[in-house]
C-alpha cells in the first residue's frame, strides 16, 4: 500500500478512537459535567484549538489527482496532495521572496506568477507562507498527539503495576523512573534523538520516553492510595480478578490525572520541538523549523518579517489556547485545587 493511503487510514482510526473515547466519556455524569463546564469557561480557547485540529486533519487526508489541480504542472498531478494543498493552486510557487500581497519579487522586482495572491508572502524558495503555516498545524498536533499516544499508555502501565503490586516491581519501575528523571530533559531528548536517528517518528519516540516519567510517578502514588480504599478491598475479598479491579476501580479514578497531564504536557512538547528544530534535529515542516529558517532574515536589509511572524503567531496562538485550556481543565477536574483557589 502506498504511504499516503496508510496515513489516511491511520487518521481515520485516530478520529474513530477519539470519537469512541468521547462517547464513553459522555456516558459518565462526571465527564459530561466537566465538558459542559469547560465549554462555558473557555469557549474561545476551545474554538481555537478546534480550528488547529481541523487544519491538521485536512492536511492529513491526501489523495492523487482530481480537482484542485488547475493549471498545475504534470508532476504535481501524480503526487498525493492534501485538502489544504488543494485550497492552493498546484504550482503556487515563485522564484524567491515576495512580500504579502506583493505584485513583484522582493529583491529585483521581477513580476510574480501569482501577483497579489500570496496573503503572507513567500519564503526564500518562493513557497507560499500561508500554505506552509497551515501545513505546520499537522506537525504540531503530531508532536503532541503521537508523543502522548506513546507516553500515556507507558506511564499508566508502569505506574499502575508499580503502585498496585508494590515490592520488586515497584523497585524496578522506581529505579527506571529515577534514572530517566535524573538526566536533564533537553539533554536526554538530544541524546535519544542522536542515537535513534532523525525523523518525525524518532523525535516523537524520544519525547515519549522523556515525558512519561512525571505522569507515571503521579499514577504510582495515586494507585498506592486507591488500592487501600474500602471498595477495592471489598472487591478483592469477593474474589474479583486483579485485571478487573484495575480496569473497573483503579483506571477510571486515574483518568482525570491523565487528561490534566495530557493538556499540560502538550504545550511543553510543541515548544521543545521548536528548540529541537533550531538545533537541527526537529521535524520537517514544523513551525519551529520555519522560525529557525527565518533567523537570519531579520538581519537582511530591508528585513523580511512575514516568515517569522506567521510561524510565531501560529505557534503562539496554539500554545496560548492550550495553556488557558490546561488551567481550566485542572481547576475543573482536580477538586482539591478548586477548593483552595475559590
Amino acid at each position: 500500500m502506498e504511504l499516503h493511503v496508510v496515513q489516511n487510514l491511520m487518521i481515520l482510526l485516530l478520529v474513530a478512537g477519539a470519537l469512541g473515547a468521547l462517547r464513553a466519556a459522555r456516558r459518565s455524569d462526571l465527564w459530561r459535567k466537566a465538558g459542559r463546564e469547560l465549554l462555558r469557561r473557555r469557549p474561545v480557547a476551545l474554538g481555537i484549538v478546534g480550528l488547529f485540529v481541523a487544519f491538521a486533519l485536512l492536511e492529513s487526508i491526501s489523495w492523487i489527482g482530481g480537482a484542485g489541480a488547475e493549471g498545475g504542472d504534470q508532476l504535481a498531478l501524480h503526487e498525493p496532495r492534501s485538502v489544504i494543498d488543494r485550497l492552493f493552486p498546484a504550482d503556487f510557487k515563485e522564484r524567491s521572496y515576495s512580500a504579502p500581497f506583493a505584485g513583484a519579487e522582493f529583491y529585483g522586482g521581477a513580476a510574480l506568477r501569482y501577483p497579489g495572491r500570496h496573503v503572507l508572502g513567500t519564503d526564500i524558495l518562493g513557497r507560499d507562507v500561508l500554505h506552509l503555516t497551515l501545513k505546520g498545524a499537522r506537525v504540531a498536533l503530531l508532536i503532541g498527539g503521537l508523543t502522548s499516544l506513546i507516553a500515556i499508555p507507558l506511564a499508566l502501565l508502569l505506574g499502575i503495576s508499580a503502585g498496585y503490586y508494590g515490592g520488586r516491581i515497584d523497585d524496578a519501575v522506581f529505579f527506571v523512573i529515577s534514572v530517566l528523571a535524573s538526566i536533564p530533559s533537553l539533554l536526554l531528548l538530544i541524546a535519544l534523538i542522536m542515537a535513534l536517528g532523525r525523523g518525525p517518528v524518532q523525535v516523537c519516540v524520544a519525547m515519549g520516553v522523556t515525558s512519561w516519567v512525571g505522569l507515571s510517578r503521579m499514577v504510582r502514588g495515586e494507585t498506592f492510595k486507591l488500592r487501600e480504599l474500602d471498595y477495592v478491598q471489598a472487591a478483592r475479598a469477593l474474589g474479583v480478578s486483579e485485571f478487573r479491579i484495575i480496569r473497573r476501580h483503579i483506571l477510571p479514578n486515574l483518568m482525570h490525572l491523565v487528561v490534566i497531564t495530557f493538556v499540560l504536557m502538550f504545550s511543553g512538547l510543541v515548544l521543545s520541538e521548536a528548540i529541537l528544530a533550531w538545533l537541527g534535529i526537529g521535524i520537517d515542516g514544523s513551525w519551529g523549523q520555519m522560525i529557525d529558517q527565518a533567523r537570519d532574515e531579520l538581519s537582511r536589509d530591508p528585513i523580511i518579517w512575514w516568515n517569522l511572524a506567521a510561524a510565531s503567531a501560529a505557534l503562539f496562538g496554539l500554545i496560548l489556547a492550550v495553556n488557558f485550556l490546561g488551567d481550566a481543565v485542572r481547576d475543573i477536574l482536580d477538586p482539591r485545587t478548586t477548593w483552595e483557589t475559590r
Binding site: 529505579f175 538545533l279 522560525i291
Partner: protein
C-alpha cells in the same frame, strides 16, 4: 542525618550506574560504533575507512564480552572511564574533553549565575506582589501576563530581543564574548535580559500558586488577627513558610548552572558548555554528548540530595531518617 545522607549517596550511585547503562545501550548497542563512524565520516564512506575511524577512536573492542580478558570490552571501558572522570577524546576533533570542560565552564557560569540569582529575586518579588493583591485586577492581569509570557517560544524571545534591543535600539552588542572584566558586562547584558524575561512567566505562575496556597492557612489569619500588617505577613510569615516548595525548585537547579544554557550561549556566541553541546550535536560528536549527559545526571542527583538536606535547615519539623 549522616546515615540518611550516606544511604542517599549510595542510591544516587546506583542511579548513576543506571544512567551509564542507558548511555551504553543508546550509544554502543543501538547506534553501533560503525554507525557512529558512518555519521562522522559520511554515508558513502568505504568499509575500510569506517573501520579505520572505529579503530582510531578505540571503539574496536568487543562490545559486551571478551573471553580472553574480560576487562577489555567497550562496556567495561565505558563504565571505568566515566566513573574515574577520564573522559577521553572528542570524536570530532580528537582533543581531550576534560580540557574543553575546564575552558568552557567559566563563560557558562558568568552567564548562568547572575541569571539564576536575579531571576530568582525578580520572580519571587513579582509573585509575592501579585499574591498580595490576590482576587483583584492586579492579580488577574499578572496571571494573564504570566500565561502570555510562557506561551512564547524561547526562540522568539531570543530572535526578537536581539533584533529589538541589539539592532534597533543598539543598547548592547548583538552577540559575542570578551573575557576582559570591563567588557564582560556589556556582552552579558542582552543574553541576561532575554533569559530573565523568557523564564519569568512560568516561575511567577509557580510561585504565585505556592504563595496563594500559604495565604489561606490558619497562621496567616492568626497573624492578621493579632494586628500584623499585610506586607509584614507576606515577607515574614508567608515567604518563610513557603520555603520548602521554593527550595525544591531552586536547589535542584543550582547544579544545572554548570551545564550552561544551550540556546542562549549558542545564539550569543558565548564559548560555554552549552554551545559545546550544540557543536557536538552538529558535529555528531557522541563522546562529548555522553559526557554532558553523564555530568548533567551527576549534578542533578547531587542537587536532589542537597535539596533534602536543605529542608532541615529551612524547616525544623523536617527530620531526615
Amino acid at each position: 542525618m549522616l546515615a540518611y545522607v550516606i544511604r542517599r549517596l549510595a542510591y544516587g550511585f546506583v542511579t548513576v550506574l543506571g544512567v551509564l547503562l542507558l548511555l551504553f545501550v543508546l550509544f554502543f548497542l543501538y547506534a553501533t560504533p560503525v554507525e557512529m563512524a558512518r555519521r562522522a565520516v559520511g554515508e558513502k564512506a568505504p568499509p575500510e575507512v569506517l573501520q579505520q575511524w572505529v579503530a582510531n577512536h578505540g571503539y574496536d573492542k568487543p562490545r559486551l564480552w571478551n573471553a580472553e580478558s574480560p576487562s577489555d570490552t567497550l562496556l567495561f571501558e565505558h563504565f571505568r572511564r566515566m566513573l574515574t572522570f577520564d573522559f577521553g577524546r572528542s570524536d570530532a576533533d580528537d582533543t581531550p574533553i576534560v580540557d574543553h570542560l575546564r575552558q568552557r565552564v567559566g563563560p557558562s557560569l558568568v552567564l548562568t549565575i547572575p541569571l539564576f540569582v536575579i531571576g530568582l529575586g525578580v520572580s519571587i518579588s513579582a509573585s509575592l506582589f501579585v499574591a498580595y493583591f490576590r482576587e483583584t485586577y492586579i492579580d488577574r492581569t499578572g496571571v494573564v501576563l504570566a500565561v502570555l509570557g510562557m506561551s512564547i517560544s524561547i526562540l522568539l524571545y531570543i530572535i526578537g530581543g536581539q533584533y529589538l534591543i541589539g539592532k534597533l535600539l543598539r543598547w548592547f552588542p548583538i552577540s559575542g564574548f570578551d573575557p576582559a572584566p570591563a567588557m564582560i558586562a556589556r556582552f552579558m547584558a542582552l543574553p541576561l535580559l532575554i533569559g530573565l524575561f523568557s523564564g519569568l512567566g512560568e516561575s511567577v505562575r509557580f510561585y504565585r500558586t505556592v504563595f496563594i496556597e500559604e495565604t489561606s492557612r490558619d497562621y496567616v489569619r492568626t497573624a492578621r488577627a493579632k494586628g500584623c500588617g499585610d506586607g509584614r505577613i507576606m515577607a515574614r510569615h508567608v515567604l518563610r513558610n513557603a520555603m520548602i516548595p521554593i527550595l525544591t525548585r531552586v536547589v535542584v537547579a543550582i547544579p544545572f548552572l554548570f551545564i550552561g544554557s544551550l540556546l542562549l550561549e549558542s545564539f550569543f556566541g558565548i564559548p560555554g558548555l552549552g554551545s559545546m553541546t550544540v557543536d557536538a550535536i552538529h558535529g555528531n560528536d557522541f563522546a562529548v554528548l555522553r559526557v554532558m549527559v553523564f555530568i548533567g545526571a551527576l549534578f542533578f542527583i547531587l542537587g536532589q540530595i542537597a535539596t533534602d538536606v536543605s529542608y532541615t535547615l529551612a524547616d525544623p519539623r523536617v527530620r531526615l531518617e
